[in-house]
């Protein structure tokens, strides 16, 4: 129960007027139903805490799927002035550049079912989970890892793992300015054998199809016709990213003390962006982000190869990348604030960039549409494709939601699933699952998650994302 005062601004917007040590207001995108969850969770006090941090520009923003996280809530956006603001590992998350990419294919769902098992077998075999003994077949040298950390997805393209067109359809073209030297030896050691692996938990490679189209013209331009078979990849920077986060949480706890930053919660540890610690974290985090972009590019290659094996090379040639987005990241971006263009460090933890139509960073083919935004749901229901809007640009530093959080803890889900066969239940509904461990399937059961449709309907209703299509899974590969 929360005693934080919340004022409703309109159907989808709520404000937490500043009080106490808050430097700005909180702004929450939600509806009445979701708001009840938010108020019952500690996320609201976390939105308030973030508003205490120095140099924050605009409100402490919360997406409809906001829930408790370490320091910063998950589903939050916070922007800081480049000169006098802070950067914080808690505002990014452990899984740096956890993100998603969506690929379309020339296949139609009706033609795929007979070969779906074979396709999933290939995907399961060629995309290792990378957990435990399941290492990557790709043996990176230390030099190659350095190249991955500086070049990101470009490295993968140069090595033959995709096409130049893939980079165009990737956020930041899959490469951020980075500082591989700021990544510790431990983090690099964790990263060496995990490139090309998907991870476990809520990471996946999913075969799906377009079930519903909301904007036929936009959907058509993105290659999303009803029945189109799609491939959704959800993965991040693996152990390398987790280690970078851990390393810099230690650094920032000390830095916050050194720079006299008053923290309502120790997990908000941070440093001024322009300080040596701030610069090093930005450089290391960007390197980890590049690793994740390269990783998703590699997995796209494995998807194309699996499709080639099962359906033939001509079909694989027709696999196109719709877009690739990060949903745990902090980037230096230019935004207009009170009529002035400013350089801001935008933290998105469980939130996605959503550039509006005509944004100069968009490649030509998206110029009139806006940036595609990919919102994964749980493995039993649906996912969404949205487009960025001018309203998001004006109100949320061009950000929108990223998915739906859990409603059941892992232990609870395991208990609920104990006498059930979740994989069989899904198969009975036409969804095949291949997973490295039964425990993952149980913990990731659809009922363990909130309904992403509710979250998407709020962002659409609020105008910070525009619905284009809804996808449904037919096959899921999990670590």
């Amino acid at each position: 129960m929360s005693d934080i005062r919340v004022e409703r601004l309109d159907e989808y917007r709520w404000s937490v007027p500043r009080f106490g040590g808050m430097r700005t207001d909180g702004l929450i995108f939600s509806d009445s139903t979701l708001m009840r969850d938010i108020e019952g969770d500690q996320a609201l006090s976390q939105v308030v805490n973030v508003a205490h941090l120095p140099g924050i520009v605009g409100p402490s923003i919360a997406m409809p799927d906001i829930h408790w996280g370490y320091g910063f809530p998950i589903g939050g956006v916070a922007a800081f002035d480049e000169r006098n603001g802070v950067i914080s590992p808690g505002g990014v998350g452990y899984d740096i550049n956890c993100g998603v990419r969506l690929l379309t294919s020339p296949l139609h769902v009706t033609g795929v079912r007979s070969r779906l098992e074979r396709l999933l077998d290939h995907l399961f075999r060629h995309i290792p989970s990378g957990v435990g003994a399941a290492r990557s077949d790709l043996k990176l040298s230390a030099d190659q890892l350095e190249a991955v950390l500086s070049q990101g997805a470009s490295w993968a393209i140069a090595e033959g793992y995709g096409h130049e067109a893939d980079l165009e359809a990737t956020e930041a073209r899959g490469t951020l300015p980075a500082d591989p030297d700021a990544v510790s030896a431990r983090a690099k050691q964790r990263g060496l054998r995990q490139l090309g692996t998907v991870g476990s938990g809520n990471h996946f490679v999913e075969v799906g199809h377009v079930a519903e189209v909301f904007d036929p013209d936009a959907a058509s331009l993105l290659g999303l016709e009803v029945g189109t078979v799609t491939f959704f990849i959800h993965s991040g920077s693996r152990g390398l990213g987790y280690q970078v986060c851990d390393d810099y949480l230690d650094v920032m706890v000390q830095a916050a003390r050194d720079y006299d930053i008053d923290l309502p919660d120790k997990q908000l540890c941070c440093a001024p962006i322009e300080s040596p610690e701030g610069k090093r974290y930005l450089g290391a985090m960007s390197a980890a982000a590049n690793y994740a972009f390269a990783n998703r590019q590699l997995m796209s290659h494995y998807v194309r190869r699996s499709v080639a094996s099962v359906f033939g090379p001509e079909v694989a040639e027709g696999i196109n990348l719709v877009y690739d987005v990060a949903h745990n990241i902090a980037k230096i971006e230019q935004h207009e604030v009170d009529g002035r263009r400013r350089n801001l460090c935008v933290h998105r933890k469980g939130a996605t960039r959503a550039l509006p139509p005509h944004h100069p960073e968009l490649p030509a083919r998206f110029r009139d549409l806006g940036q595609p935004v990919l919102i994964p749901g749980d493995m039993g229901r649906y996912s969404y494709v949205l487009l960025g809007t001018a309203t998001a640009s004006a109100e949320t530093f061009a950000s929108t939601c990223h998915g739906a959080g859990r409603r059941m803890s892992r232990t609870q889900a395991k208990r609920v699933a104990r006498h059930r066969n979740i994989a069989q239940e899904l198969a009975d509904r036409g969804i095949l699952v291949r997973a490295a461990s039964r425990r993952t399937v149980d913990e990731e059961m659809p009922e363990a998650y909130k309904d992403v449709r509710q979250v998407v309907d709020v962002v659409h209703g609020a105008g910070i994302g525009r619905k284009v299509a809804r996808l449904e899974p037919i096959g899921v590969v999990k670590g």
């Binding site: 370490y70 957990v131 435990g132 399941a134 050691q189 476990s200 987790y242 425990r439 913990e443």
Partner: protein, 137 residues
């Protein structure tokens, strides 16, 4: 066994209770083993020296569990058990017994991303040591 896992929405809370600091650390390693390899067999084939210094026993426990996770994740070593040779509030010396990870023998478990500082606590209550750690999965 004097540890248990408690629910926490996306993550896992580990609670340990032991009659001594040494056993607290040893139970922590055992808990990590269960998380990382489940009930798969692990033979104590080789050992890794654990030598940690910290300001508090909380930070020592954090350091130990992080080390076990690192060895698993980066070096491919499944933890069997920890033998503590010396433990105080600021020092931990011991040997972590491990076996090289093997696909057929060590069944995969959902990944442990990190051992966090959130709610990290090690305290003494009457004659027992108690600890709470939150793990990010």
């Amino acid at each position: 066994m004097t540890y248990e896992f408690l629910p926490h929405t996306a993550d896992l809370r580990l609670r340990i209770e032991a009659p001594s600091l040494e056993e607290l650390f040893e139970d922590g390693a055992r808990a990590m083993r269960e998380l990382l390899v489940g009930s798969s067999p692990v033979s104590p084939v080789q050992h890794v020296r654990i030598s940690l210094r910290a300001d508090t026993p909380d930070e020592l426990l954090l350091g130990l569990l992080r080390e076990v996770l690192y060895r698993f994740s980066a070096e491919g070593e499944a933890p069997s058990h920890l033998v503590v040779s010396h433990a105080s509030a600021v020092e931990l010396e011991g040997a972590l017994w491990v076996e090289a990870l093997s696909a057929g023998r060590h069944l995969p478990q959902p990944e442990v991303k990190a051992v966090t500082r959130h709610g990290l606590e090690v305290r003494r209550s009457a004659e027992r040591w108690m600890a709470t750690v939150l793990l990010d999965l």
